[in-house]
């Protein structure tokens, strides 16, 4: 189903310029020493990798740009990172947390 284009649904690919809607709040939760993503009636706890990705979702960088940055930061193969980022962002988009 993942590549079926549906009205209004973002299908994430390497050229997508992902952005978090401004009503989502990525905050550090000091009491529990972790990151939280606050959304309507939802509290998400992204791990460090997801936080790194989300911080780069500025609506200007493409998925390729984001993957290149992370590949450098984590000294990891860029094709592996790209696949991971696409999967993560598609999942986030399907739940309404990422727009393109």
């Amino acid at each position: 189903m993942a590549d079926v284009k549906q009205p209004g649904r973002l299908v994430v690919d390497r050229a997508t310029k992902p952005v978090m809607p401004r009503y989502l709040k990525l905050r550090h939760d000091p009491g529990r020493d972790r990151w939280v993503l606050l959304a309507p009636e939802r509290i998400l706890t992204p791990d460090n990798i997801a936080v790194s990705v989300l911080k780069l979702c500025n609506g200007e960088s493409t998925v390729d740009d984001i993957a290149a940055k992370l590949a450098e930061e984590y000294s990891a193969p860029v094709d592996v990172i790209t696949a991971d980022v696409v999967e993560l962002l598609q999942d986030m988009a399907d739940k309404g947390y990422i727009k393109g």
């Binding site: 905050r27 309507p40 009636e41 509290i43 399907d94 309404g96």
Partner: protein
């Protein structure tokens, strides 16, 4: 929160937290360990005043009068304390929260405390300038209740003229201002056939989320059960429709569904476990583990006028009464699901069996279950009774007389 919430292994969604929180100190025994986990959500019922009179209102039957409401400063202090103790989201509800003239100050205090703020409103008296002001002060999310997608149905259910038109106007303002919008759809026998149209409406409005919230039969809805409960067949087919729509609307609309547990086999883990993740504060400042907890007569509730919110969370008799599993009786006590559903809803056990320690009769293992289902099906098969509207006159008349308990199976 019924959907699969795990995202690609990197992001978890939580309803109830399991992380101990700095500054919230527990000890080795089980219930103290549970208090050491700060709640993530706070429901603030700012007032019981409301322009609508919906017969399934989640407020207690005994409504709080305006003269007992917390002051502006008391609510602002609650927000500051909530932020300090690790609460992450506050739901500003009522009654109708916009009936408070000081909503601006309360929202500002909540936002300053770092809380994600949700306004849960009927929206019939909200002006655009006020909404803009609330957004400026830090309001993050607006939830609007829609009693029916048919104007006549909406007017009749809420006992308020032209409610739908006004609500839709406010809904458009919310999305125009770039705020996320949730449509709350309370479902019962008079509008269950409109579930597909509710979803269409939410998409058309550009809502981020919809709650298909089947009436939960406590308080006012319990009094009105014979007027509200849909048939088993209608319920099942509406649930199937929503499940299919969820797949179709992936990435477009988040759909949350609260199902009517009368027709379920397993009970809901009410509030994610008693005293585990949520607090509810009444207009007069009483702190409750859930919004219906006052229906359990043996509980005593502390108020924010007398004690710190954190102390109430950790030490109050009401929060500790049903925390964890020590309080359970059979069949819960030895049940493999005891830490999955926590025996279900204490208030429903109270309403139906008159003992809050009994298994929620929504559970098929409860000896009361088959009686409850039989009763529900019999009521749904008959013509709907008249509504007992939620207003102070009816509250005074009904009082606490809640009928006789069911008889358990042998």
């Amino acid at each position: 929160m019924t959907e699969d919430l795990k995202i690609d292994g990197h992001v978890d969604a939580i309803a109830v937290d399991d992380e101990p929180t700095t500054g919230v100190i527990g000890s080795a025994d089980e219930s103290a360990m549970l208090c050491a986990v700060a709640p993530v959500g706070l429901l603030a019922e700012l007032t019981h005043r409301c322009p609508l009179q919906c017969p399934y209102c989640s407020n207690p039957v005994e409504l709080e009068s305006v003269k007992n409401e917390l002051s502006t400063e008391e609510w602002c202090s609650v927000m500051r304390q909530a932020g300090e103790m690790g609460i992450l989201q506050v739901h500003l509800s009522g009654g109708e929260p916009t009936a408070r003239k000081d909503l601006e100050e309360i929202i500002k205090a909540a936002a300053d405390a770092g809380l994600y703020t949700n306004l849960i409103t009927a929206a019939v008296n909200l002006k655009r300038e006020r909404l803009e002001k609330l957004q400026e002060l830090g309001l993050d999310h607006v939830q609007i209740s829609v009693q029916d997608v048919d104007p006549a149905g909406a007017d009749r259910i809420g006992a308020f003229k032209n409610a739908l038109e006004k609500k839709l106007e406010v809904a458009h303002w919310v999305t125009e201002l770039g705020m996320p919008l949730t449509i709350n759809a309370p479902i019962h026998r008079h509008n269950i056939h409109n579930v597909p149209r509710y979803l269409d409406l939410a998409v058309e409005l550009g809502a981020q989320r919809i709650e298909i919230a089947h009436a939960q039969y406590y308080g006012w809805a319990y009094l009105n059960r014979a007027a509200l409960i849909p048939t088993y067949e209608e319920t099942v087919s509406s649930i199937e429709y929503v499940e299919a729509a969820r797949e179709r609307l992936k990435g477009v609309l988040t759909i949350d569904m609260v199902v009517p547990d009368y027709y379920a086999k397993r009970p809901k883990p009410c509030m994610g476990g008693w005293g585990k993740g949520f607090m509810n504060i009444t207009p007069a400042g009483k702190v409750l583990p859930c919004h219906a907890a006052e229906s359990i007569p043996e509980l005593h509730f502390d108020t924010v006028r007398d004690k710190k919110l954190l102390d109430i969370w950790m030490d109050s008799e009401a929060f500790n009464a049903f925390r964890g599993t020590d309080w359970m009786k059979e069949p819960c006590k030895s049940c493999a699901f005891r830490e999955v559903d926590y025996g279900g809803c204490r208030c429903q056990a109270m309403a139906i069996t008159k003992d809050p320690r009994n298994t929620d009769p929504a559970c098929s293992l409860s000896p009361y279950h088959s009686e409850m289902v039989k009763l529900a099906k019999a009521e749904a098969a008959k013509p709907a009774t008249e509504f007992v509207y939620r207003n102070t006159r009816n509250a005074a008349q009904v009082g606490k007389a809640h009928g006789e308990p069911l008889v358990p199976a042998e």
